[in-house]
Protein backbone atom coordinates (compact mmCIF):
# COMPACT_ATOMS: atom_id res chain seq x y z
CA UNK A 1 0.00 0.00 0.00
CA UNK A 2 1.33 3.42 -0.88
CA UNK A 3 2.11 5.57 2.16
CA UNK A 4 3.54 8.50 0.21
CA UNK A 5 1.90 9.56 -3.05
CA UNK A 6 3.09 12.58 -5.01
CA UNK A 7 1.19 13.18 -8.22
CA UNK A 8 2.15 15.74 -10.85
CA UNK A 9 3.77 18.04 -8.29
CA UNK A 10 5.16 21.28 -9.68
CA UNK A 11 6.91 23.86 -7.52
CA UNK A 12 8.69 27.02 -8.59
CA UNK A 13 10.56 29.68 -6.67
CA UNK A 14 10.43 33.30 -7.61
CA UNK A 15 13.20 35.64 -6.62
CA UNK A 16 14.08 39.00 -8.14
CA UNK A 17 11.78 38.45 -11.07
CA UNK A 18 13.37 35.14 -12.02
CA UNK A 19 11.44 31.91 -11.76
CA UNK A 20 13.25 28.66 -10.99
CA UNK A 21 11.39 25.43 -11.53
CA UNK A 22 12.42 23.25 -8.58
CA UNK A 23 9.98 20.41 -9.22
CA UNK A 24 8.50 19.84 -12.68
CA UNK A 25 5.56 17.43 -12.80
CA UNK A 26 7.04 15.01 -10.25
CA UNK A 27 5.11 11.82 -9.47
CA UNK A 28 6.48 9.40 -6.86
CA UNK A 29 4.94 6.59 -4.84
CA UNK A 30 6.47 4.92 -1.81
CA UNK A 31 4.88 1.80 -0.32
CA UNK A 32 4.97 0.75 3.29
CA UNK A 33 8.01 -1.32 4.17
CA UNK A 34 9.91 0.12 1.24
CA UNK A 35 13.18 2.06 1.11
CA UNK A 36 12.99 4.65 -1.64
CA UNK A 37 16.21 6.27 -2.87
CA UNK A 38 15.97 9.79 -4.24
CA UNK A 39 19.06 10.67 -6.26
CA UNK A 40 20.07 13.81 -8.07
CA UNK A 41 22.70 16.52 -8.37
CA UNK A 42 22.81 19.53 -6.07
CA UNK A 43 19.86 21.73 -6.91
CA UNK A 44 17.96 18.91 -8.64
CA UNK A 45 14.92 19.55 -6.41
CA UNK A 46 15.28 16.75 -3.85
CA UNK A 47 15.02 18.87 -0.70
CA UNK A 48 12.08 20.75 -2.23
CA UNK A 49 10.24 17.42 -2.35
CA UNK A 50 11.16 16.76 1.29
CA UNK A 51 9.91 20.17 2.38
CA UNK A 52 6.64 19.72 0.54
CA UNK A 53 6.08 16.35 2.20
CA UNK A 54 6.56 18.03 5.58
CA UNK A 55 4.14 20.78 4.66
CA UNK A 56 6.91 23.38 4.87
CA UNK A 57 6.35 24.32 1.24
CA UNK A 58 3.20 24.40 -0.82
CA UNK A 59 3.28 22.99 -4.35
CA UNK A 60 2.10 25.24 -7.19
CA UNK A 61 0.05 22.34 -8.48
CA UNK A 62 -0.32 18.60 -8.02
CA UNK A 63 -1.33 16.47 -5.07
CA UNK A 64 0.59 15.08 -2.10
CA UNK A 65 -0.99 12.39 0.04
CA UNK A 66 0.71 10.83 3.07
CA UNK A 67 -0.98 7.88 4.81
CA UNK A 68 -4.25 8.79 3.13
CA UNK A 69 -4.13 12.45 4.24
CA UNK A 70 -4.05 15.33 1.79
CA UNK A 71 -0.97 17.38 2.69
CA UNK A 72 -1.64 20.13 0.16
CA UNK A 73 -5.03 20.90 1.66
CA UNK A 74 -3.89 20.38 5.22
CA UNK A 75 -0.24 21.34 5.28
CA UNK A 76 0.06 21.16 9.06
CA UNK A 77 -0.40 17.39 8.96
CA UNK A 78 2.80 16.79 7.02
CA UNK A 79 5.18 17.12 9.93
CA UNK A 80 3.00 14.93 12.15
CA UNK A 81 2.88 12.12 9.59
CA UNK A 82 6.53 12.16 8.49
CA UNK A 83 9.52 12.03 10.83
CA UNK A 84 12.43 13.76 9.21
CA UNK A 85 16.18 13.94 9.48
CA UNK A 86 16.91 17.37 8.05
CA UNK A 87 19.76 17.98 5.65
CA UNK A 88 21.44 20.45 7.97
CA UNK A 89 22.91 19.13 11.17
CA UNK A 90 20.61 20.02 14.03
CA UNK A 91 22.55 22.16 16.53
CA UNK A 92 21.94 20.40 19.82
CA UNK A 93 23.50 23.01 22.08
CA UNK A 94 23.92 21.38 25.46
CA UNK A 95 21.40 18.62 24.75
CA UNK A 96 22.88 15.13 24.69
CA UNK A 97 22.02 12.55 22.00
CA UNK A 98 20.07 10.56 24.58
CA UNK A 99 18.06 13.50 25.92
CA UNK A 100 17.17 14.91 22.50
CA UNK A 101 16.20 11.48 21.15
CA UNK A 102 14.03 11.01 24.23
CA UNK A 103 12.28 14.35 23.71
CA UNK A 104 11.61 13.48 20.06
CA UNK A 105 10.13 10.12 21.00
CA UNK A 106 7.92 11.71 23.64
CA UNK A 107 6.75 14.42 21.21
CA UNK A 108 5.67 11.61 18.90
CA UNK A 109 3.67 10.14 21.72
CA UNK A 110 5.40 6.86 22.51
CA UNK A 111 5.69 5.67 26.11
CA UNK A 112 8.81 6.44 28.18
CA UNK A 113 9.71 2.73 28.36
CA UNK A 114 9.41 2.40 24.60
CA UNK A 115 11.51 5.55 24.13
CA UNK A 116 14.28 4.13 26.32
CA UNK A 117 14.16 0.75 24.60
CA UNK A 118 14.29 2.27 21.11
CA UNK A 119 17.03 4.74 22.06
CA UNK A 120 19.26 1.99 23.42
CA UNK A 121 18.55 -0.21 20.41
CA UNK A 122 19.43 2.52 17.92
CA UNK A 123 22.53 3.76 19.77
CA UNK A 124 23.86 0.21 20.01
CA UNK A 125 23.12 -0.51 16.38
CA UNK A 126 25.00 2.61 15.29
CA UNK A 127 27.72 2.10 17.89
CA UNK A 128 27.38 5.58 19.39
CA UNK A 129 26.54 4.57 22.97
CA UNK A 130 29.80 6.10 24.25
CA UNK A 131 28.51 9.56 23.22
CA UNK A 132 24.95 9.07 24.44
CA UNK A 133 25.40 11.43 27.37
CA UNK A 134 27.89 13.91 25.91
CA UNK A 135 26.69 17.47 25.28
CA UNK A 136 25.99 18.36 21.66
CA UNK A 137 28.56 21.17 21.68
CA UNK A 138 31.32 18.57 22.16
CA UNK A 139 30.19 16.13 19.47
CA UNK A 140 31.72 15.68 16.02
CA UNK A 141 29.72 16.24 12.84
CA UNK A 142 29.29 12.54 12.18
CA UNK A 143 27.88 11.83 15.63
CA UNK A 144 25.51 14.79 15.32
CA UNK A 145 24.32 13.39 12.00
CA UNK A 146 23.76 9.94 13.48
CA UNK A 147 21.91 11.54 16.39
CA UNK A 148 19.72 13.25 13.79
CA UNK A 149 18.94 9.83 12.36
CA UNK A 150 18.02 8.47 15.80
CA UNK A 151 15.75 11.49 16.40
CA UNK A 152 13.83 10.63 13.23
CA UNK A 153 13.91 6.87 13.79
CA UNK A 154 13.02 6.64 17.48
CA UNK A 155 9.29 6.79 16.76
CA UNK A 156 9.13 6.42 12.98
CA UNK A 157 5.38 6.20 12.47
CA UNK A 158 4.24 5.62 8.89
CA UNK A 159 6.91 7.55 7.01
CA UNK A 160 10.51 8.56 7.64
CA UNK A 161 12.41 10.98 5.45
CA UNK A 162 16.19 11.04 5.63
CA UNK A 163 17.89 13.93 3.84
CA UNK A 164 21.51 12.95 3.21
CA UNK A 165 21.86 10.83 6.37
CA UNK A 166 25.35 9.47 5.64
CA UNK A 167 27.17 12.81 5.23
CA UNK A 168 30.08 13.20 7.67
CA UNK A 169 29.64 9.62 8.92
CA UNK A 170 32.67 7.30 9.02
CA UNK A 171 32.73 4.28 6.69
CA UNK A 172 32.14 1.69 9.41
CA UNK A 173 29.15 3.44 10.93
CA UNK A 174 27.76 4.14 7.46
CA UNK A 175 27.24 0.41 7.12
CA UNK A 176 25.52 0.28 10.48
CA UNK A 177 23.36 3.20 9.37
CA UNK A 178 22.26 1.49 6.15
CA UNK A 179 21.43 -1.57 8.27
CA UNK A 180 19.32 0.58 10.59
CA UNK A 181 17.55 2.11 7.58
CA UNK A 182 16.67 -1.39 6.31
CA UNK A 183 15.36 -2.28 9.76
CA UNK A 184 12.98 0.69 9.69
CA UNK A 185 11.46 -0.63 6.47
CA UNK A 186 11.27 -4.14 7.92
CA UNK A 187 8.99 -2.73 10.61
CA UNK A 188 6.62 -1.48 7.91
CA UNK A 189 7.67 2.17 7.67
CA UNK A 190 7.97 3.84 4.29
CA UNK A 191 11.50 5.30 4.13
CA UNK A 192 12.66 7.99 1.73
CA UNK A 193 16.45 8.42 1.56
CA UNK A 194 17.88 11.42 -0.21
CA UNK A 195 21.54 10.74 -0.86
CA UNK A 196 24.56 11.23 -3.08
CA UNK A 197 26.11 7.97 -1.91
CA UNK A 198 24.48 5.92 -4.63
CA UNK A 199 27.04 3.16 -4.45
CA UNK A 200 26.24 2.56 -0.78
CA UNK A 201 22.52 3.03 -1.22
CA UNK A 202 22.45 0.47 -4.01
CA UNK A 203 22.08 -2.52 -1.73
CA UNK A 204 19.69 -0.76 0.66
CA UNK A 205 17.04 0.76 -1.62
CA UNK A 206 14.11 -1.11 -3.10
CA UNK A 207 12.86 1.57 -5.44
CA UNK A 208 14.45 4.77 -6.64
CA UNK A 209 14.09 7.88 -8.71
CA UNK A 210 16.67 10.06 -10.41
CA UNK A 211 15.85 13.74 -10.41
CA UNK A 212 17.46 16.28 -12.69
CA UNK A 213 16.54 19.95 -12.94
CA UNK A 214 13.28 19.22 -11.17
CA UNK A 215 12.22 16.40 -13.46
CA UNK A 216 12.13 12.68 -12.77
CA UNK A 217 14.47 11.14 -15.36
CA UNK A 218 14.05 7.57 -14.26
CA UNK A 219 12.23 5.70 -11.55
CA UNK A 220 11.27 2.21 -10.55
CA UNK A 221 12.66 -0.92 -8.97
CA UNK A 222 16.35 -0.39 -8.25
CA UNK A 223 17.40 -3.93 -9.16
CA UNK A 224 15.54 -3.77 -12.47
CA UNK A 225 16.99 -0.41 -13.35
CA UNK A 226 20.45 -1.71 -12.67
CA UNK A 227 19.87 -4.87 -14.66
CA UNK A 228 18.57 -2.79 -17.56
CA UNK A 229 21.52 -0.46 -17.45
CA UNK A 230 24.07 -3.24 -17.16
CA UNK A 231 22.48 -5.78 -19.47
CA UNK A 232 25.09 -8.45 -19.94
CA UNK A 233 27.93 -5.97 -19.57
CA UNK A 234 30.78 -5.68 -17.12
CA UNK A 235 33.52 -3.12 -16.89
CA UNK A 236 37.22 -2.83 -16.30
CA UNK A 237 38.19 0.18 -14.24
CA UNK A 238 41.75 1.42 -14.10
CA UNK A 239 43.90 4.40 -13.30
CA UNK A 240 44.90 5.78 -16.70
CA UNK A 241 48.46 7.03 -17.11
CA UNK A 242 47.90 8.20 -20.68
CA UNK A 243 45.20 10.17 -22.53
CA UNK A 244 42.36 8.41 -24.32
CA UNK A 245 43.86 8.58 -27.81
CA UNK A 246 46.87 6.48 -26.76
CA UNK A 247 44.60 3.49 -26.13
CA UNK A 248 43.58 1.13 -28.87
CA UNK A 249 40.00 0.01 -28.38
CA UNK A 250 39.90 -3.81 -28.56
CA UNK A 251 37.48 -5.06 -31.21
CA UNK A 252 35.58 -7.15 -28.64
CA UNK A 253 34.93 -4.20 -26.32
CA UNK A 254 31.70 -2.22 -26.21
CA UNK A 255 33.31 1.05 -25.29
CA UNK A 256 36.35 2.77 -23.82
CA UNK A 257 36.39 6.04 -21.98
CA UNK A 258 39.00 8.01 -20.06
CA UNK A 259 37.75 10.71 -17.76
CA UNK A 260 39.60 12.36 -14.88
CA UNK A 261 42.45 9.87 -15.30
CA UNK A 262 40.06 6.97 -14.84
CA UNK A 263 39.68 4.46 -17.65
CA UNK A 264 36.49 2.48 -18.09
CA UNK A 265 36.30 -0.36 -20.58
CA UNK A 266 32.92 -2.06 -21.01
CA UNK A 267 32.49 -5.53 -22.52
CA UNK A 268 30.25 -8.60 -22.60
CA UNK A 269 30.42 -10.69 -19.44
CA UNK A 270 31.82 -13.75 -21.28
CA UNK A 271 34.87 -11.76 -22.28
CA UNK A 272 36.08 -11.15 -18.74
CA UNK A 273 39.26 -13.18 -19.22
CA UNK A 274 40.10 -11.25 -22.40
CA UNK A 275 39.63 -8.04 -20.50
CA UNK A 276 41.95 -9.13 -17.70
CA UNK A 277 44.59 -10.05 -20.26
CA UNK A 278 44.15 -6.68 -21.97
CA UNK A 279 44.49 -4.91 -18.66
CA UNK A 280 47.75 -6.69 -17.90
CA UNK A 281 49.13 -5.80 -21.36
CA UNK A 282 48.29 -2.15 -20.99
CA UNK A 283 49.90 -2.08 -17.58
CA UNK A 284 53.06 -3.64 -18.97
CA UNK A 285 53.09 -0.92 -21.61
CA UNK A 286 52.91 1.64 -18.81
CA UNK A 287 49.51 3.01 -19.89
CA UNK A 288 47.60 1.79 -16.84
CA UNK A 289 48.21 1.56 -13.12
CA UNK A 290 46.08 -0.74 -10.95
CA UNK A 291 42.97 -2.14 -12.63
CA UNK A 292 40.00 -4.23 -11.63
CA UNK A 293 36.93 -5.89 -13.13
CA UNK A 294 33.58 -4.86 -11.62
CA UNK A 295 29.86 -4.94 -12.22
CA UNK A 296 28.08 -2.00 -13.79
CA UNK A 297 26.52 -0.16 -10.83
CA UNK A 298 23.57 2.15 -10.27
CA UNK A 299 26.09 4.92 -9.95
CA UNK A 300 27.35 4.25 -13.49
CA UNK A 301 23.78 4.41 -14.69
CA UNK A 302 23.28 7.65 -12.75
CA UNK A 303 26.40 9.29 -14.16
CA UNK A 304 25.44 8.15 -17.64
CA UNK A 305 22.01 9.67 -17.13
CA UNK A 306 22.77 13.03 -15.54
CA UNK A 307 26.52 13.16 -14.96
CA UNK A 308 27.68 15.31 -17.83
CA UNK A 309 24.62 17.50 -17.96
CA UNK A 310 24.89 18.25 -14.26
CA UNK A 311 28.57 19.05 -14.44
CA UNK A 312 27.96 21.60 -17.17
CA UNK A 313 25.02 23.08 -15.27
CA UNK A 314 27.17 23.43 -12.17
CA UNK A 315 29.76 25.51 -13.98
CA UNK A 316 27.30 27.83 -15.62
Amino acid sequence: MAVIELDHVTKSYKSRGRTTLANDDVSLHVDEGEVFGLFGHNGAGKTTIVNQLLGLLKPDSGSIVVAGQDIVKNRNLGRYLCSVQPQSKTPLGELTPRSVTRVMGQLRGISPEEVDRRTTELFEKLDIMQWADVQGTKLSGGILRLTGFCMAAVAPGRAVILDEPTNDVDPVRRRFLWGAIRDLAKDGTAVVVVTHSIREAESAVDTMAVLNEGKVLKQGNARQIRAEAAGNLMKLEAVAKAPEDRFEVPTWAEGLKVAEAELTLTFERELASEALKWGAEQRDRGLLAEYSLTEITLEDMYIELVGNRGAVEGVR
Binding site: T90, G93, E94, L95, L107, Q135
Partner: protein
Amino acid sequence: MSGSNLKYVIELQARKQGSYLVVFSIIMIVIALGVAIGFSYLMSSPEGGGMLYLATGAPTIVLIMTALVTVPMQNAGAKMTGYMDFVKSLPVSRKLFLIADVGIWAMVTVPAIAVSVFVAHLIFEPGYAVSWTIIPAFVLMVLSCFAIGYGYSFVIPAEPAMALSQLIAFISLMFSPINFPIERLPGWVQAVHEVLPIYHMAEVMRASLAHTTFEAQPISYIMLAAWTVVGFFGAVRFLERA
Protein backbone atom coordinates in the same frame (compact mmCIF):
# COMPACT_ATOMS: atom_id res chain seq x y z
CA MET B 1 -1.69 16.20 24.90
CA SER B 2 -0.57 19.74 24.13
CA GLY B 3 0.04 20.31 27.85
CA SER B 4 2.61 17.54 28.04
CA ASN B 5 3.99 18.58 24.65
CA LEU B 6 4.62 22.05 26.08
CA LYS B 7 6.64 20.35 28.81
CA TYR B 8 8.79 18.59 26.18
CA VAL B 9 9.28 21.76 24.15
CA ILE B 10 10.35 23.62 27.31
CA GLU B 11 12.74 20.75 28.07
CA LEU B 12 14.13 20.95 24.54
CA GLN B 13 14.63 24.71 24.64
CA ALA B 14 15.90 24.94 28.21
CA ARG B 15 18.33 22.03 27.95
CA LYS B 16 19.63 23.14 24.57
CA GLN B 17 20.73 26.47 26.07
CA GLY B 18 21.52 25.02 29.48
CA SER B 19 24.33 26.78 31.31
CA TYR B 20 24.09 29.70 28.89
CA LEU B 21 20.78 30.67 30.52
CA VAL B 22 22.43 30.68 33.94
CA VAL B 23 25.30 32.81 32.64
CA PHE B 24 22.78 35.20 31.14
CA SER B 25 20.83 35.50 34.37
CA ILE B 26 24.07 36.55 36.05
CA ILE B 27 25.00 39.01 33.28
CA MET B 28 21.54 40.57 33.60
CA ILE B 29 22.02 40.99 37.35
CA VAL B 30 25.32 42.76 36.65
CA ILE B 31 23.70 45.02 34.04
CA ALA B 32 20.83 45.90 36.38
CA LEU B 33 23.19 46.74 39.22
CA GLY B 34 25.36 48.62 36.74
CA VAL B 35 22.47 50.84 35.73
CA ALA B 36 21.25 51.47 39.28
CA ILE B 37 24.67 51.94 40.88
CA GLY B 38 27.02 52.76 37.99
CA PHE B 39 24.85 55.48 36.48
CA SER B 40 24.55 57.13 39.88
CA TYR B 41 28.19 58.22 39.50
CA LEU B 42 27.08 60.30 36.50
CA MET B 43 24.96 62.43 38.77
CA SER B 44 26.43 65.18 40.91
CA SER B 45 24.24 64.30 43.90
CA PRO B 46 22.83 60.80 43.95
CA GLU B 47 19.78 61.70 45.93
CA GLY B 48 16.11 62.25 45.46
CA GLY B 49 14.18 61.95 42.21
CA GLY B 50 17.17 61.31 39.95
CA MET B 51 18.15 58.25 41.93
CA LEU B 52 14.60 56.95 41.85
CA TYR B 53 14.63 57.28 38.06
CA LEU B 54 17.72 55.09 37.86
CA ALA B 55 16.43 52.59 40.40
CA THR B 56 13.11 52.19 38.61
CA GLY B 57 14.75 52.29 35.18
CA ALA B 58 17.09 49.36 35.81
CA PRO B 59 14.40 46.65 35.59
CA THR B 60 13.20 48.09 32.27
CA ILE B 61 16.75 48.01 30.94
CA VAL B 62 16.97 44.34 31.96
CA LEU B 63 13.80 43.51 30.05
CA ILE B 64 14.97 45.42 26.98
CA MET B 65 18.45 43.89 27.05
CA THR B 66 16.95 40.42 27.30
CA ALA B 67 13.94 40.57 25.03
CA LEU B 68 15.00 43.15 22.46
CA VAL B 69 18.75 42.49 22.28
CA THR B 70 19.75 39.01 23.52
CA VAL B 71 16.78 36.99 22.32
CA PRO B 72 16.83 38.50 18.81
CA MET B 73 20.56 37.65 18.60
CA GLN B 74 19.72 34.10 19.61
CA ASN B 75 16.92 33.88 17.07
CA ALA B 76 19.08 35.24 14.28
CA GLY B 77 21.71 32.62 15.16
CA ALA B 78 19.06 29.88 15.30
CA LYS B 79 17.89 30.88 11.83
CA MET B 80 21.39 30.80 10.41
CA THR B 81 22.32 27.41 11.89
CA GLY B 82 19.11 25.81 10.62
CA TYR B 83 17.70 25.33 14.10
CA MET B 84 14.52 27.22 13.19
CA ASP B 85 13.93 24.83 10.30
CA PHE B 86 14.26 21.97 12.74
CA VAL B 87 11.79 23.60 15.12
CA LYS B 88 9.34 24.06 12.27
CA SER B 89 9.56 20.38 11.36
CA LEU B 90 8.65 19.21 14.88
CA PRO B 91 5.32 17.44 15.32
CA VAL B 92 3.90 20.07 17.68
CA SER B 93 1.97 23.30 17.41
CA ARG B 94 4.58 25.96 16.68
CA LYS B 95 2.94 28.34 19.11
CA LEU B 96 4.17 26.05 21.90
CA PHE B 97 7.71 26.88 20.88
CA LEU B 98 7.01 30.59 21.29
CA ILE B 99 5.25 30.08 24.64
CA ALA B 100 8.08 27.90 25.95
CA ASP B 101 10.82 30.27 24.83
CA VAL B 102 9.15 33.42 26.16
CA GLY B 103 8.60 31.63 29.48
CA ILE B 104 12.23 30.55 29.75
CA TRP B 105 13.67 33.97 28.89
CA ALA B 106 11.19 35.78 31.15
CA MET B 107 12.51 33.66 34.02
CA VAL B 108 16.03 34.84 33.18
CA THR B 109 15.01 38.44 33.90
CA VAL B 110 13.36 37.78 37.28
CA PRO B 111 16.50 37.40 39.45
CA ALA B 112 18.09 40.48 37.88
CA ILE B 113 15.03 42.62 38.50
CA ALA B 114 14.59 41.36 42.07
CA VAL B 115 18.26 41.69 43.01
CA SER B 116 18.68 45.14 41.49
CA VAL B 117 15.59 46.50 43.21
CA PHE B 118 16.63 44.99 46.52
CA VAL B 119 20.25 46.21 46.35
CA ALA B 120 19.26 49.70 45.15
CA HIS B 121 16.83 49.89 48.03
CA LEU B 122 19.54 48.91 50.56
CA ILE B 123 22.09 51.38 49.24
CA PHE B 124 20.10 54.42 48.18
CA GLU B 125 16.60 53.97 49.63
CA PRO B 126 15.38 55.84 46.55
CA GLY B 127 11.76 55.70 47.66
CA TYR B 128 10.31 52.53 46.20
CA ALA B 129 6.62 51.98 46.79
CA VAL B 130 5.68 48.70 45.17
CA SER B 131 2.08 48.49 44.09
CA TRP B 132 0.09 45.31 43.46
CA THR B 133 -0.05 46.46 39.87
CA ILE B 134 3.55 45.27 39.56
CA ILE B 135 2.28 41.77 38.72
CA PRO B 136 -0.10 42.57 35.83
CA ALA B 137 2.28 45.33 34.75
CA PHE B 138 5.22 42.93 34.71
CA VAL B 139 3.21 40.44 32.68
CA LEU B 140 2.23 43.16 30.20
CA MET B 141 5.80 44.44 29.91
CA VAL B 142 7.20 40.96 29.46
CA LEU B 143 4.63 40.14 26.82
CA SER B 144 5.09 43.35 24.86
CA CYS B 145 8.87 43.28 25.10
CA PHE B 146 9.19 39.66 23.99
CA ALA B 147 6.50 40.06 21.35
CA ILE B 148 8.50 42.83 19.74
CA GLY B 149 11.80 40.96 20.15
CA TYR B 150 10.52 37.75 18.60
CA GLY B 151 8.48 39.63 16.05
CA TYR B 152 11.29 41.64 14.55
CA SER B 153 13.94 38.94 14.77
CA PHE B 154 11.68 36.45 12.98
CA VAL B 155 10.34 38.80 10.34
CA ILE B 156 13.61 40.56 9.46
CA PRO B 157 16.44 38.49 7.88
CA ALA B 158 19.13 37.34 10.34
CA GLU B 159 21.97 39.80 9.63
CA PRO B 160 19.96 43.05 9.70
CA ALA B 161 18.13 41.75 12.78
CA MET B 162 21.48 41.36 14.54
CA ALA B 163 22.48 44.88 13.59
CA LEU B 164 19.13 46.25 14.75
CA SER B 165 19.52 44.53 18.13
CA GLN B 166 22.80 46.39 18.68
CA LEU B 167 21.20 49.66 17.70
CA ILE B 168 18.36 49.04 20.16
CA ALA B 169 20.85 48.36 22.96
CA PHE B 170 22.63 51.66 22.31
CA ILE B 171 19.53 53.80 21.85
CA SER B 172 17.70 52.40 24.85
CA LEU B 173 20.68 53.03 27.12
CA MET B 174 21.57 56.53 25.91
CA PHE B 175 18.61 58.12 24.15
CA SER B 176 15.55 56.72 25.87
CA PRO B 177 13.59 58.24 28.71
CA ILE B 178 14.15 55.21 30.93
CA ASN B 179 16.69 56.67 33.32
CA PHE B 180 15.68 60.32 33.00
CA PRO B 181 12.46 62.29 32.39
CA ILE B 182 11.27 62.49 28.78
CA GLU B 183 11.14 66.31 28.94
CA ARG B 184 14.94 66.43 28.70
CA LEU B 185 14.83 65.09 25.14
CA PRO B 186 14.32 67.29 22.06
CA GLY B 187 10.70 67.58 20.96
CA TRP B 188 10.96 65.33 17.91
CA VAL B 189 12.66 62.56 19.89
CA GLN B 190 9.86 62.82 22.43
CA ALA B 191 7.33 62.42 19.63
CA VAL B 192 9.12 59.31 18.38
CA HIS B 193 9.13 57.80 21.86
CA GLU B 194 5.39 58.38 22.19
CA VAL B 195 4.96 55.79 19.43
CA LEU B 196 7.78 53.41 20.31
CA PRO B 197 7.25 51.00 23.23
CA ILE B 198 10.39 51.79 25.26
CA TYR B 199 9.10 54.95 26.95
CA HIS B 200 5.77 53.33 27.81
CA MET B 201 7.52 50.31 29.32
CA ALA B 202 9.57 52.61 31.52
CA GLU B 203 6.46 54.53 32.56
CA VAL B 204 4.55 51.39 33.54
CA MET B 205 7.56 49.97 35.40
CA ARG B 206 8.04 53.22 37.35
CA ALA B 207 4.37 53.44 38.29
CA SER B 208 4.50 49.88 39.61
CA LEU B 209 7.72 50.23 41.59
CA ALA B 210 7.07 53.72 42.99
CA HIS B 211 3.37 54.38 42.69
CA THR B 212 3.43 57.17 45.24
CA THR B 213 5.82 59.21 43.04
CA PHE B 214 4.97 58.20 39.47
CA GLU B 215 1.84 57.59 37.55
CA ALA B 216 1.51 55.97 34.15
CA GLN B 217 -1.09 57.25 31.71
CA PRO B 218 -3.66 54.79 30.33
CA ILE B 219 -2.15 55.40 26.88
CA SER B 220 1.03 53.66 28.05
CA TYR B 221 -0.88 50.47 28.85
CA ILE B 222 -2.76 50.72 25.57
CA MET B 223 0.44 51.21 23.58
CA LEU B 224 2.07 48.20 25.22
CA ALA B 225 -0.99 46.07 24.54
CA ALA B 226 -0.96 47.20 20.91
CA TRP B 227 2.76 46.39 20.51
CA THR B 228 2.13 42.97 22.08
CA VAL B 229 -0.50 42.18 19.48
CA VAL B 230 1.60 43.43 16.57
CA GLY B 231 4.74 41.61 17.77
CA PHE B 232 3.13 38.26 18.42
CA PHE B 233 1.18 38.52 15.19
CA GLY B 234 4.46 38.86 13.29
CA ALA B 235 6.18 36.09 15.26
CA VAL B 236 3.31 33.63 14.89
CA ARG B 237 2.95 34.44 11.22
CA PHE B 238 6.63 33.64 10.70
CA LEU B 239 6.32 30.37 12.63
CA GLU B 240 3.10 29.23 11.01
CA ARG B 241 4.28 30.20 7.55
CA ALA B 242 5.74 27.18 5.85
